[in-house]
């Protein structure tokens, strides 16, 4: 029998989602800086132009704000579009169109605005203060937006397709360090079987503590958990996938079971999405919590460029394991002896990354 799944990188999965969607919806457009260039936005838009033509797939002027409004205008005429930005930071130019138009249009005028905005978060290799900011909590604060943050190829593909066919504006956030990460996806995509946006996934089952993570941190958490399992410390790991609307049920069910909560976040600490989760859980499940909830977030500073300054800057399996052990009040000082430290070099996602961008 043939296997129903295949191993694929996340950027290829995204590319497949775009091909699939453009085939399915003959009106769907795909544009943004770099969309048709030889590198195809880290390979995610490769061959789209060839396959679907210049009318539907095109490069654009550097005009992030207008382009966002243009995608809204298209959607009002029932033309969906995927607009890509190579860094989230560039998209700050477009907040007026995003918030005042895309997010509020349906509320104000009862006309849906199905657009998908892909934003890529940089990290490491000197990306520095203006190429690595993750503002997913900004987007989640805005009524009317949906916000998706996949952590693996399967989700990236499924959720991108779901985003595209959702009747609302969706912010789709890709972590640059995940692009080359491999994972299994179904060979065949059945659109009916895809989630509506708004489901978390339990990645590891466990009873002692609930860990909520998203994006790259899901992987760091898995490494930590795999390690801790050897010591019979079994935690539940939830991958958020979609942070707005949020699947509170899955998180609450898990916290009710474990009574302990650790939330990981790739954004700055103050007003991080982790804060939102801890706040809501504290409000609603106060009596279930055995210990104070804990978060592990990026500090309230931009990412510096220097290799020296980013050493120890990121959240690693060891940091996660430390928190877990502290929350669970495990005294054995030796447990953390062998856990994976920060790899060397620490500022690249893997040996495939040769810089510079």
């Amino acid at each position: 029998m043939q296997k129903k799944t295949k191993l694929i990188t996340m950027s290829n999965a995204i590319n497949e989602a775009l091909h699939f969607s453009m085939k399915k919806d003959k009106n769907l457009l795909c544009f943004g800086l770099g969309t048709t260039d030889p590198k195809g936005i880290f390979s995610t838009t490769i061959n789209l132009e060839k396959k679907f033509g210049k009318d539907r797939v095109f490069d654009v002027p550097a005009s992030e704000n207008a382009l966002t409004g243009i995608s809204v205008g298209l959607s009002l005429e029932k033309i969906r579009s995927v607009v890509s930005h190579q860094r989230l930071d560039f998209f700050l130019l477009a907040m007026d169109q995003l918030v005042n138009n895309a997010a509020k249009w349906y509320f104000t005028f009862s006309q849906p605005v199905p657009i998908t905005i892909r934003l890529i978060i940089g990290r490491g290799w000197g990306q520095g203060p203006t190429h690595s900011q993750n503002l997913h909590s900004w987007f989640a604060h805005i009524p009317g937006l949906k916000v998706v943050i996949p952590s693996n190829p399967r989700d990236a593909k499924d959720l991108l397709i779901s985003s595209i066919f959702d009747p609302n504006p969706v912010i789709f956030i890709e972590h640059r360090w995940l692009h080359e990460m491999e994972g299994n996806i179904n060979k065949k995509t059945e659109i009916k079987k895809l989630d509506n946006l708004g489901k978390c996934k339990i990645i590891e089952k466990g009873n002692k503590l609930t860990i909520v993570a998203s994006s790259y941190l899901v992987h760091e958490a898995r490494i930590a958990l795999r390690y801790l399992k050897k010591f019979k410390i079994d935690c539940e790991l939830i991958d958020l996938r979609v942070i707005k609307p949020l699947d509170w049920k899955t998180i609450e069910k898990s916290v009710k079971k474990t009574g302990n909560l650790l939330v990981l976040d790739t954004g700055s600490d103050t007003l991080s999405f982790a804060s939102e989760i801890i706040s809501s859980i504290s409000i609603r499940l106060f009596q279930y919590l055995k210990n104070p909830p804990v978060k592990l977030t990026m500090p309230d500073i931009p990412e510096p460029a220097s290799y020296g300054l980013t050493k120890g800057f990121y959240i690693r399996p060891k940091n996660i394991a430390e928190k877990i052990i502290k929350i669970l009040n495990i005294k054995d000082g030796n447990i953390l002896k062998l856990i994976q430290k920060e790899p060397n070099p620490h500022d690249i996602p893997g040996s495939w990354f040769k810089g510079p961008f």
């Binding site: 349906y106 006309q111 009524p143």
Partner: protein, 323 residues
């Protein structure tokens, strides 16, 4: 200009004027509770444009949109209900005067942030072009809006993609109380500046229906032929305060001479004068006026009588549902 057109233009102008004057007169009662930017003095352009466009042509506008909405055929009752905050409002009472919409006649929406419907209009035009429709898109905005980067980015894109957009700049020389000289280079002519961007342009007296007619006639034809966007600058003047029902020239922010000049060029009065001078007494002007007055009064009554939205707005109203 054919007689029929003239009649229809005059009707448009008179009707808009009457609606706006009535809003102004009754605003003090505190029933129309929203920021309201009246079109009085600026009725001519949309009233003439109406001659050249169909329902399938779409229009977007900004904060001062009553005239654009009405001339496009937007439902008067729904507009008034919106201003009164009633559930029959064209935006269900969610938007108020600055957020008008009537998709059934091609009024695609007006928004309240300066210049922010311009990219929306360009996006709509891209859709029209991709669908190989002959329709055009009208984007209305003021002399202040062209100062926003959003305008510049949008028109660049429209030119680049040869989109069927009619950019209509109603230059009334002011952004709120601020005259052009504090905002734009001395001696700039906006349309000439836009020409430099690569867009065919024209300018004309925005209070003179005959001149407008001629210019718009040619422009719409050209845009419809697929040659790309055109930018028209129409000089005009608002009679009342920027936002609200009153006159505010006691504040002395506009030169008395200008004011006098423009009040004499009131599009309604001067058009009626011309009509009379040319002895173009058609049908029965008085009768026509009365019909409009009745219609408008009726609509106000309707709006007053209409209910406030009875539902409680909740977070369920925030997302569109899949169908």
């Amino acid at each position: 200009m054919k007689k029929n057109s003239l009649i229809s233009i005059w009707k448009n102008i008179f009707r808009i004027r009457y609606v706006e004057e009535k809003i102004a007169k009754e605003y003090y009662k505190g029933e129309m509770r929203c920021p309201t930017h009246l079109s009085i003095g600026q009725e001519a352009v949309p009233s003439v444009l109406d001659q050249f466009i169909q329902k399938t042509d779409l229009a977007v506008s900004g904060h001062r949109a009553h005239a654009h909405y009405l001339a496009k055929g937007g439902d008067l009752k729904k507009m008034l209900c919106e201003i009164f905050g009633k559930e029959n409002g064209c935006a269900k009472g969610r938007g108020g005067s600055m957020h008008l919409i009537d998709r059934s006649v091609g009024f695609a929406g007006s928004t309240a942030i300066v210049a922010n419907s311009i990219p929306i209009g360009v996006g709509i035009a891209l859709a029209k072009k991709l669908k190989k429709k002959k329709d055009i898109v009208i984007i209305y905005f003021g002399d202040g809006a062209i100062e926003e980067g959003a305008f510049y980015e949008s028109i660049n894109f429209a030119i680049l993609k040869k989109l069927p957009v009619f950019f209509i700049c109603e230059n009334n020389f002011y952004s709120v109380y601020t005259p052009l000289k504090y905002r734009q280079p001395k001696d700039r002519k906006i349309h000439k500046m836009v020409k430099g961007l690569g867009c065919p342009v024209f300018s004309t007296d925005g209070n003179d229906p005959f001149k407008i007619y001629e210019k718009i006639s040619a422009a719409v034809k050209k845009i419809r032929s697929g040659k790309g966007p055109i930018f028209g600058e129409f000089y005009t003047y608002r009679h009342r305060e920027h936002c609200g029902p009153n006159f505010d020239d006691n504040l002395n922010y506009r030169p008395k001479n200008d004011l006098k000049y423009w009040l004499e060029k009131d599009p309604l009065i001067s058009l009626e004068k011309k009509i009379k001078k040319k002895k173009m007494i058609f049908l029965n002007m008085k009768n026509e006026k009365q019909k409009i007055i009745n219609e408008v009064n009726e609509a106000f009554k309707f709006a007053r009588k209409s209910k406030y939205p009875s539902y409680k707005i909740t977070t369920r109203d925030i997302y569109a549902k899949k169908n």
